[in-house]
């Protein structure tokens, strides 16, 4: 320590205690003038000292570049504004990032980065998730390596999960083999995530992977595995439960020329009975119910079910989670064709549909949207955003309601959702229609539509 710093340390000590600093002042400092002494000491401290950094101060690895181009620079402030304005709206952040993805872009990391629990984030963000989660000194995924059974342990969990998801989309059997070999050694939360990966491109070859998992010690893992087996037509539950449920619903035939089977979920006498039926719908698979009713699965899904929407929810959930893809798709189409079936219910059947399937049916879904909030259409669309055409939207009753009730506070959500659903051309058309209907061209409710209209596709292939 240099001489002035030694003197300053002494002065600090006496001033903290409230003693006279004169005896400790350097010889050429005014020891008898304490204010002058503190002025000199303060100045010396600020000029002579430097911050002492820890010796092991080391930067983190550089944030990796993604395999997708960043969004256009001029639109970044617009995205930041939208994220801030809709931060309290559930699903808004997801929708905006998915719209970017649908146009072939990734967000700029200064505007948005995925959080560890953002399971909906596309696999393209895996390097950022891994970078965020990696503790200093923890190695990231081996560069250039592909995930295999042998390299599984070398990958950090986040990158491993997203790499598996990516592999599942490209080579479902290879991903299934890795899960079969490694799931048992993972803790329950991770086992559940691994089984969720099998939802993508589920095929009969996955049955041997799922069968041991259906006996898993975690009830959540086992239940999901059983539901997936049910979709493949495998697994056997308790026939007594299925029979009990069958007795609580009715099957009839409708139509004069084209005879079709229709399931009815009638009102029951007591709330306890209603609750029991809902519970049974959660325990019995769709195939078991069809068998107990002695009706072909295809026949049972040929027409929309009858009953109060609130009573139909457990049935639709049962189909959505346990029916084969064919049965789920048939029921979804039947419900889209039936004016009496609420879109909010039908949308539950679209959750596990492929993006192509959702895109192809989105026009019909929009025509059936009941609410100017367009919330059901958003659920139906999933991540298939930015594709609805202006003609499809223009024909939607809910869109006319939205234009008529633009003063309603809920119109904020309605215009936001429409802004995510429509194509770039349609966004411009919707803005004109809204202004023609009386909205100011500068109205902030049109902000998402303006963003959409300005966001040209990148031209890059969207994984």
């Amino acid at each position: 320590m240099t001489e002035p710093l030694v003197a300053l340390a002494g002065l600090r000590g006496v001033w903290m205690a409230g003693r006279s600093a004169a005896p400790l002042a350097p010889a050429d400092w005014p020891g008898d003038d304490e204010p002058a002494l503190v002025a000199l000491a303060g100045q010396a401290l600020q000029v002579l000292t430097r911050p002492a950094a820890p010796t092991d101060l080391a930067p983190r690895p550089l944030l990796p570049r993604l395999a997708r181009p960043p969004m256009p620079e001029p639109l970044r402030p617009h995205l930041r504004r939208l994220l801030a304005a809709h931060r309290k709206q559930p699903g808004a952040e997801q929708g905006l990032i998915q719209l970017l993805a649908a146009r072939g872009y990734a967000a700029h990391p200064a505007d948005w980065m995925p959080k560890p629990d953002d399971d909906w984030a596309a696999p393209v963000y895996a390097p950022w998730l891994a970078w965020t989660e990696a503790a200093p000194g923890v190695a990231s995924a081996p560069v250039g390596e592909t995930l295999t059974v042998d390299t599984y342990a070398e990958w950090p969990w986040t990158e491993r999960r997203l790499a598996l998801l990516d592999l599942r989309r490209r080579e479902p059997a290879a991903a299934g083999q890795i899960i079969a070999a490694k799931a048992a050694a993972e803790p329950a939360e991770r086992r559940l995530k691994l089984v969720e990966i099998l939802v993508e491109r589920l095929e009969p070859a996955d049955a041997p992977v799922l069968e041991p998992l259906a006996q898993d010690r975690s009830e959540r893992v086992a239940a999901l595995a059983r539901r997936l087996l049910a979709r493949l037509g495998r697994g056997a539950g308790d026939p007594a439960l299925a029979r009990e449920l069958a007795a609580m619903v009715a099957v009839s035939t409708r139509g004069l020329i084209r005879r079709r089977t229709q399931l009815t979920v009638p009102a029951l006498k007591t709330a306890a009975q209603e609750a029991r039926r809902a519970e049974l719908f959660g325990a019995v698979t769709f195939a078991e119910l069809a068998a107990a009713l002695d009706v072909e699965e295809a026949a049972l899904t040929a027409s929309a079910p009858a009953g109060e929407p609130v009573r139909l929810v457990p049935f639709v959930q049962c189909v959505a989670t346990t029916a084969s893809d064919q049965a789920r798709r048939t029921l979804m189409e039947a419900m889209l064709d039936d004016d009496g079936a609420p879109l909010a219910l039908t949308a539950q059947l679209a959750v596990r549909a492929s993006p192509d399937e959702r895109r192809s049916l989105l026009g019909r879904a929009l025509a059936r949207e009941e609410s100017p909030l367009f919330a059901s259409a958003r659920v139906f669309a999933g991540d298939a955003l930015g594709v609805a055409t202006s003609s499809v939207l223009g024909a939607a009753r809910a869109f006319r309601q939205l234009l008529e009730k633009q003063g309603d506070p809920a119109a904020v959500t309605g215009f936001f959702n429409v802004g995510l659903l429509v194509s770039q051309d349609a966004a411009a058309t919707v803005i004109y229609a809204a202004v023609a209907a009386g909205l100011s061209i500068a109205d902030p409710r049109l902000d998402t539509l303006r963003f959409n209209a300005a966001l040209a596709p990148s031209g890059a292939a969207v994984p």
Binding site: G42, V47, E73, A110, R450
Partner: protein
């Protein structure tokens, strides 16, 4: 469609507001005027350092918003904007979409809140645009002028006397804090500073009182181990400032630090000696702080991309009751302007004299190899300074084992500097090619950085 003359007259709070608006009708006073449909906006250079942002809806539900601190609604700037729309509509450039700050206002405005009807019913007849536009005869009375000058000189002498007495008391107060121990001072720093600050307010040393009011928050923001040295520096600067003022009470910088800043008019007056610098400026960041004296300070930090002082700051104060206020520039925005700097040993605070049409495209100047050299130089020139902007060379942002942020230079020429607050995640993974921040002797508050991920912002 512009509002009619009668509608503007009806909206005006009084005839004097219309008269004041008439003085703002020269297009040269306005920048960035635009329109989308019935929405108009513009930036007007008023008495503040930042231009005022003014926008108005001239549609069926008229309304307006201005960032000036006037209590009149609509203020003269909003009236002038609507008036210009009536008289000189071609000066408003048609845009596809309004700027973000206009959209922000549209989102927050209460519909149907314009008091046009109420104003019209009260004294609409008493307000006239024609009358406001008529030139006002200038009356000169040499005797009255000399009386005013004499009164002003008396007031200045009186203020000097009171401030000198208060500064004597301040020095005694500093000595008392040392005599009773800094441990006790730090334990009740808010109370003790508040008391002496109140005494300084009474003695018309308002600027110094505000500085003392904010001292506790500066000290308590640091970890306890660093507070004794920070308290020594804080008290030492007060003594240095008091003694410097006693030596040169008419020094503009010292007067600004102790009493109050000069007005924009006096700064721009001939003979004021304000340094003027025409250049391209980049808005680095905006720092908004609510002070204990009830004022909100809005500081817009600028980086000079050409010749002259490297940094500048546009500083405005608003009463906290006036609601949310912001400056006129988005972080990263570049503009060409002539700035007038308040006279100072290291010129920094400034006002905009005029804005030029287009900013040139220029790169950030290189950072200093040892950024603390600028801090030491500024302390040697003006040892009472509390903070100084630094231009940082290439480096990285890091976190230590406790999670505290640091700026670390690439080379060994400069020391690593501890950061105030947590840096955003992306900045920890970015290669920083240059950065600007405010150093207060203990912590670096980053304003902006250029990196391999582009420009990075650091919000408060």
């Amino acid at each position: 469609v512009a509002l009619s003359r009668s509608a503007i007259e009806a909206m005006a709070p009084d005839q004097s507001a219309l008269k004041a608006a008439a003085g703002l009708l020269k297009p040269a006073k306005w920048d960035a005027r635009g329109r989308v449909g019935e929405l108009i906006w513009g930036e007007c250079q008023g008495s503040g350092a930042n231009p005022y942002r003014v926008c108005a809806d001239t549609g069926a539900d008229p309304g307006s918003k201005c960032t000036c601190p006037s209590r009149k609604f609509p203020c003269k700037h909003a009236l002038a904007l609507m008036w210009l729309d009536l008289d000189e509509a071609a000066g408003f450039a048609a845009a596809d979409a309004p700027p973000a700050w206009v959209t922000d206002w549209m989102a927050r405005r209460r519909r149907g809140a314009a008091p046009a009807g109420a104003a019209a019913s009260s004294d609409a007849a008493a307000k006239s645009i024609d009358l406001a536009a008529a030139p006002t005869p200038v009356e000169t009375d040499p005797a009255a002028d000399s009386r005013r000058a004499a009164a002003s000189a008396r007031r200045a002498a009186d203020t000097r006397e009171q401030v000198a007495a208060a500064l004597d008391e301040l020095e005694r107060w500093v000595a008392d804090q040392l005599r009773t121990g800094l441990g006790g001072f730090l334990a009740e720093v808010s109370e003790r500073c508040r008391r002496i600050a109140a005494r300084l307010v009474d003695a018309k040393a308002g600027a110094l009182a505000s500085r003392l009011d904010e001292a506790p928050s500066r000290l308590l923001a640091l970890p306890p181990a660093e507070r004794p040295d920070a308290a020594i520096a804080e008290l030492g600067k007060l003594v240095l400032l008091a003694r410097a003022w006693r030596a040169r009470p008419d020094d503009p910088e010292l007067r600004r630090e102790v009493v109050a800043a000069e007005t924009r008019e006096s700064l721009l007056a001939e003979g004021a000696g304000a340094l003027r610098c025409a250049s391209t400026w980049e808005a680095l960041a905006e720092r908004v702080a609510t002070r204990r004296d009830g004022l909100v300070s809005v500081a817009t930090w600028l980086l000079n991309l050409g010749e002259g002082p490297r940094f500048a700051v546009l500083l405005d104060f608003f009463p906290a009751s006036a609601g949310r206020r912001t400056g006129a520039f988005e972080p990263g925005q570049r503009f060409a302007a002539t700035l007038a700097f308040y006279p100072a040993r290291t010129p920094l605070r400034c006002v905009i004299v005029s804005r030029e049409a287009a900013a040139v495209d220029a790169a950030w100047p290189a950072g200093e190899p040892d950024p603390l050299a600028a801090w030491r130089a500024s302390l040697l020139a003006a040892p009472w300074r509390l903070e100084a902007p630094l231009a940082l060379p290439p480096g990285r942002l890091c976190q230590d084992a406790a999670g505290r942020g640091w700026w670390r230079p690439d080379g060994d020429d400069a020391p690593a500097l501890p950061l105030a607050g947590d840096p955003p995640a992306v900045s920890l993974g970015a290669r920083i090619s240059g950065a600007a921040g405010l150093w207060n002797g203990a912590r670096l508050s980053l304003l902006a950085a250029e990196s391999d991920w582009g420009r990075l912002s650091f919000d408060d």
